[in-house]
Symmetry: C2
Amino acid sequence: MPPNANDVRLSIDALTGLLARIFRRNGCSDRVADILAANCAGAEAAGSFSHGIFRIDGYVSTLRSGWVDGAAEPRVLVEAPAYLAVEAANGFAQPAFLAAREAFVERVRENGIAFLAIRDSHHFGALWPDVTPLAEEGLIAISLVNSFACSIPAGATKPLFGTNPFAFAAPIEGDAPLVFDFATTSMANGDVQIAAREGRQVPPGTGVDRNGAPTCDPAAILDGGSLVPFGGHKGSAISMMIELMVAGMTGGRFSFEVDWSGHPGAQTPRTGQIFIGIDPARSGGEGFAARSAEFVRRLSEAGLAAYPGARRGRSRGGADVVIPRAAHDRLEDHAAGRI
Amino acid sequence: MPPNANDVRLSIDALTGLLARIFRRNGCSDRVADILAANCAGAEAAGSFSHGIFRIDGYVSTLRSGWVDGAAEPRVLVEAPAYLAVEAANGFAQPAFLAAREAFVERVRENGIAFLAIRDSHHFGALWPDVTPLAEEGLIAISLVNSFACSIPAGATKPLFGTNPFAFAAPIEGDAPLVFDFATTSMANGDVQIAAREGRQVPPGTGVDRNGAPTCDPAAILDGGSLVPFGGHKGSAISMMIELMVAGMTGGRFSFEVDWSGHPGAQTPRTGQIFIGIDPARSGGEGFAARSAEFVRRLSEAGLAAYPGARRGRSRGGADVVIPRAAHDRLEDHAAGRI
């Protein structure tokens, strides 16, 4: 559809370039700026708005606060034949992941499975851009991240867990990978912020206010209130597993240990990220991707309109992005150093 | 508490011996009988009633139907340095797992992480007895199993997924491991059966009747109706991942491919099981188990009465089991071949 006068249409490359200028201006190295810009523009183009240009103000205020090092140089360590670690050195997680990516894929193929622990990193983006390319190479990939205390464990009374997203990707023969990526809270934090900004209520069960009373007001959740895990005790257990694995396995912080009080404006959790990669070629059964294709065919027959990731897969490949003019102007102001 | 006249109190060892006689009488080898009996008695003793003696009628009818081979000899295969497989040969999953267990633990310690795929197996028990001992050795363990089509994927209209349980265990310094094990359906199938037998309603959102209408009647769910995944789209995605990984990675059946129509009485899904084991000693940070102990201390401070697995851990160690006399008589009848 053509944009109206209140919108701006630009190519993904143009948006990526614009965002990279913003990151560079705020202390990111060229490499980090390019990686974060591509991640953010890709999320915007795919309709993952809570991880798209919406995030730029938060990236900028975080970088300016000195909380994160936009020029950190990640260091890859081999801990065991199938266990790699990356010291992100208080930098962003995506450049750390990309520094280890080739070695990680090699280890997965050699050993059948491999683990990658990213230490002391910040992840402020969607996880599906991290795992999808691994599935495009034929691997199964899981990635987990913890964040900052904003979710009350089922059965508890105080926030302790982060939004703790869970991402999974698997190859589907002849089609886009099956990919999901969701917060293990009732709602992603960015989506609560967007709802608050737009004056929308959130569904019952999303969270509580500062007094612990259930509320559908996103502002009350953000202002001293809390989210809760999705799916009651079971979703809470998944979120607990993520907390324990990511902090424990990376030697990093639990969400409740993230203390950015000395850095006003900081929004990116300084925690860690883990990946598990598996090579299904070792399964010894029929070809995994062919079996997966049968699986999604049956899902479709059972009435599922599209499997997770299918639409994002189809929408890829250089379509333009349309963003509100006011948002675009703000990006230009950021890039030019006017704000 | 002392049992009343309608109850029988016996030691776990005595119950295990009684159950082993039942398994042997119905075609299990001594080894398989002992393993299944210990699993079943342990579940009963821990209060996991849907995987305790409640399961015996189902085990017996399944064994008599010829659907499962109670004397199968599992074969362990090394597919890659960190990827083991076990051909369960249409036998039960637990003996197959135990056949590979020592090699699996070695591979985890050598490589930092390892994968174990059990092929062509039947799992009719709880998963926590499989993963808990791995955490007691200091490892992190995940196990996943798919089952038979009894759950309608979120957004679909027909059952396609199994109850697809997810189990996780992690070491806690100075305490019992943190362990959870739950069906990724709204409720475990065994618990629906128990509710039906006891004439209890199940909570709203548990499932639908044969016409697809939501129902709280467990009999209507079991009689041509269906469960649904826990936690809406997110729980459904987890269940989907389990389906895809377990069937795909073992070369086994998807839940919707399990066809026991030629074996009346069969109740055990013939699918597969996977394990991921990780050695947190490779994490390079502080000691994982010490960090985990801090984590559960904070959970307690946040109001959580007990972390998952804590009570089961404390209740271990040879306490007697009290079971209804009628149930005990039925077990004796099974063991003596009177039914």
